[in-house]
Amino acid sequence: MDLTIGPNQFFWSAETVRDFYARMAQAPAARVVLGELVCSKRLPFWENEIPVAIEALQAAGKQVALTTLALITLKRERKLTAELIELGLPVEINDLSALQLLPEGREFWAGPLVNVYNTGTVQFLARRGATRICLPPELPLESVAVLAQAGRDCGVAVEVWGHGRLPLAVSGRCYHARLHDRAKDSCQFVCGEDPDGRDVETLDGEPFLAVNGIQTLSQSTATAAWHIEALREAGVSSLRLSPQSRDFPEVVAGYAALIAGQTTPAALADTLRDSAPLGRLSNGFLTGPCGADFSETA
């Protein structure tokens, strides 16, 4: 089992991005997926950092893939996707329309926002050239085990959401703009004010969700730390760690120690809580009654 750093879901400054990937080059992860996942309007602000990051990551021996947008609607976004594919690096598809633009036979990865729920879908994607699939976070452990087996049978590496705020939904509407009473087209990039998304609580003050542009995330930070053995037994080959603004290098190092058997979830728990936004963890999608649930006896 190894580690994959997922694409940063949030809108960070170019300088923050540069610093982040310079650190990731030194982190104990096997591969990194980067690029703009959530909003094409953010890209001009940091796209110049992408080649710099690719170079640093590859020089450090990491496999690098570029993600598509999560929701491709505009003509400009379709063109952007076609250009992304032409760069020649592995592409992680997070909107299926990219499959139409991908040359026949070209290898690709399927990201967690592609609906892969069953063996038939794994087999179909494998036939189309998928070599790696990160499963949707809502899948229970029993499904993960079936799909990891299906992946092994057709040469596809199966990855599972290992850490980070859960990507729960995408919309045509921008919630950051809506919360600021602005239209999507004149958002003034307010999502940049919230490096881990903007927290949403219930009327009773319970932490619940977080909005990030057109995306809705969990307020809690999901962690597979308590399920490493079960996932390994199920045949999962990689854990996906999703970037957050605080102490991410320590988080990656913690999971690396965990899969190497050098630490325990209990010993890692403080690091995870201290770095997570509002300090709340969840792990209910894998074995709990609901995604928001957290149990240390998983």
Partner: protein, 326 residues
């Protein structure tokens, strides 16, 4: 004339919709193979066959929704549903899952395939992918597009498009939302349910009625006011200084007045949401919309206000179609 595609949660609703003038009715089996898997709703294979015979005798089509994502290891339930739909004489199946589309194209090549809104195909590339790969003949468009975008899509594709014009409104990209399973463990994609009633708890408090979904408060309604069902994305929440409907106001979609614009945009079929609604509701909505599409086809002004009573207590919205979100 634009085709009117109407919901039927029960055999009685199916007959009511056909009698009221539906060109096509869509329905599902009474299990997790469809995205309205509610207690007391939907069809057994025998009921479906009878319903299809009733519709065909009166010149209406029946489309069968198998629009959830088959459970890993449980695919046989969905495969059996496909076979049952075909042998019952369904005019088309409405599918969302890649694996199931692939299976249907291979094992039931003569069964017409429509792409469910749950597949969230929101641009011409996605639609052309499904058409080229699985022979999909019609796409139900996600409710995130404007009329202009729909027109542009129709210029670049060779398959029919169907759009929602009335009823409940998903504000998230359909089929790509796990908010419900985050709060309850049950989701549209996996279980065919969203914000399920089994996880709703109402409690009377001093300041009114509190509605919770799982462990989360979705609404607080002052005493004496009608309490909306606690659908997660239509809930009232707080973010920083703001309290309100963070994701969506509790409105329902009414795009009646956009029917001429949608026709011009090349849309083939108009869809009415609401397989969970009563037979009387279905009949009334279908009658109104049949009058509207007939007026549209004849170049006459649309009948005004026919549906106001059905939307009573709930504000109507034209959703994304009229571009108010941009």
């Amino acid at each position: 004339m634009m085709e009117l595609v109407c919901p039927a949660g029960t055999p009685a609703s199916l007959r009511a919709a056909v009698d009221a003038g539906a060109h096509a009715v869509y329905c599902g089996f009474n299990d997790e193979t469809n995205a309205r898997n509610f207690p007391g709703l939907n069809f057994s294979p025998e009921e479906l066959a009878e319903g299809i015979a009733y519709a065909h005798d009166r010149g209406a089509k029946v489309l069968v929704a198998l629009n959830t994502f088959p459970r890993a290891g449980g695919e046989v339930l969905w495969h059996r549903a496909l076979a049952n739909a075909e042998s019952a004489g369904a005019d088309a199946v409405i599918l969302a899952d890649l694996g199931l589309l692939d299976y249907a194209a291979t094992h039931h090549p003569n069964l017409r395939r429509h792409l469910s809104v749950q597949a969230a195909a929101a641009n011409p590339d996605a639609i052309n992918f499904y058409a080229a790969t699985f022979g999909v003949r019609r796409v139900v468009l996600p409710r995130v597009l404007t009329v202009d975008e729909i027109r542009a899509i129709n210029r670049e594709i060779d398959v029919e498009t169907e759009v929602f014009v009335f009823g409940g409104l998903c504000v998230m990209a359909e089929g790509r939302c796990s908010l419900s399973s985050y709060a309850t463990g049950r989701s549209p994609n996996m279980n065919g349910v969203c914000s399920p009633a089994s996880h709703v708890v109402y409690s009377e408090e001093t300041d009114g009625l509190r509605a919770r979904l799982g462990d989360f408060t979705i609404h607080r309604t002052p005493k004496g006011q009608p309490a909306p069902y606690p659908t997660l994305c239509k809930g009232c929440f707080t973010s920083g200084e703001q309290t309100g409907h963070v994701f969506e106001d509790p409105v329902s979609l009414d795009a009646t007045q956009l029917i001429p614009a949608l026709a011009k945009a090349g849309v083939t079929a108009l869809k009415i949401e609401g397989r969970q609604r009563s037979r009387a509701y279905v009949a009334e909505v279908v009658r109104s919309f049949r009058a509207a599409v007939e007026a549209q086809a004849a170049g006459l002004p649309l009948p005004q206000g026919a549906l106001a009573r059905l939307a009573e207590g709930q504000a109507g919205t034209t959703g994304a179609y009229a571009k108010t979100w941009r």
